[in-house]
């Protein structure tokens, strides 16, 4: 019995090793945060209207009849430009409604951005100071949320939506929600 005590360090070490192995094969980077708002109702956020574009109030938004995306973007944000084409595809080709939240931007620059690169957003809200999106747990733009038809947050994507993400993550989730 006494001799078994001597194996304790070895056993503890083996446990440790297993954890490390698991973590090494983990796909998600340790600095990426999963959203804590998943499966919770979209929190109340108060945004301003962007002149010349459609706007919808929070109350109407959460009773939308089909699932939609919320995309937090800005004209000064590089990755936003990268994902812009895919957003256009989602909106025009796949007919996904996208609610754009313009984050900490100048009105003129925001308008120029959409006019020059195309407008994938069916409705646009403006968060001038960047305070409102904190209610969504946004920490780095661009961020995209998938909201179901009852107003619940189903998924959050941090960073630009690349083709891979669009085809293998976003669209399948949306399809799932529609059924």
């Amino acid at each position: 019995m006494k001799k078994l005590y001597y194996y304790i360090p070895f056993i503890c070490f083996c446990f440790l090793l297993v954890f490390f192995l698991k973590q090494l094969f983990e796909e998600q980077s340790p600095s990426e945060l999963p959203s804590v708002l998943l499966n919770k109702k979209l929190p109340l956020i108060e945004l301003e209207k962007l002149e010349g574009y459609h706007f919808m109030s929070y109350e109407n938004l959460i009773f939308n009849d089909k699932p939609f995306l919320i995309n937090v973007w800005s004209s000064w944000c590089g990755p936003c430009k990268i994902e812009h084409d895919n957003l256009m595809k989602l909106s025009k080709t796949y007919k996904v409604p996208i609610f754009g939240i313009n984050y900490k931007d100048e009105i003129e620059n925001a308008k120029n951005f959409i006019e020059n690169y195309g407008n994938p957003f069916s409705i646009i809200g403006v968060d001038r100071k960047g305070k409102e999106v904190i209610n969504l747990g946004v920490y780095g733009i661009p961020e995209t949320f998938i909201i179901d038809s009852s107003g619940f947050i189903k998924y959050r994507h941090v960073g630009p939506i690349l083709e891979y993400d669009m085809l293998n993550v976003i669209l399948p989730i949306l399809k799932n929600l529609e059924e």
Binding site: L33, V36, K131, N135, G137, G140
Partner: protein
């Protein structure tokens, strides 16, 4: 001996009583240092220059001014960003192993030490008893000397 302990305790507690009163800006500073910046994840929002850090600082100050307590502000942020944003892990059941680990290790160490003292004293006691062979040999040596 106990008098000293008493003196120590009295002094210690009286100092606590005279402690500075906390005001809002101090609480804000404390909060800033206890929260992780989500962009520059190796820094607290106090240290970070990231825009998000600045926004969070503003929101914290705003909420404190509204009269919210430190705990309320923290739980607001945890609701939005998860426990990751807290540098000090919560005292929840989930984290029980974390908070109890120093005590567990100490107790384990004390237990091992106790076993060490107990078993070595048993060993010494056992080895201190002379075997029959040794007893005879001792006798013969002693007898030789006497001659």
């Amino acid at each position: 001996m106990y008098k000293c302990l008493l003196i120590f305790l009295v002094l210690f507690s009286s100092i606590s009583a005279i402690s500075k009163e906390k005001n809002d800006s101090l609480v804000a500073k404390e909060l800033f240092e206890e929260l992780r910046c989500l962009v520059c994840q190796n820094q607290s929002i106090s240290e970070s220059d990231a825009p998000l850090a600045k926004d969070l600082k503003l929101i914290i100050i705003e909420q404190l001014n509204e009269g919210k307590t430190k705990t309320e502000v923290k739980s607001f942020l945890v609701n939005k960003y998860g426990e990751f944003i807290l540098f000090k892990p919560t005292f929840s059941l989930k984290n029980i192993f974390l908070w109890m680990s120093p005590i567990i290790f100490l107790i384990f160490g004390i237990f091992l030490t106790y076993r060490f003292y107990y078993f070595s004293s048993v060993n010494i006691q056992n080895s201190e008893k002379l075997t029959a062979f040794e007893k005879r040999k001792l006798k013969s040596i002693l007898n030789k000397d006497v001659k």
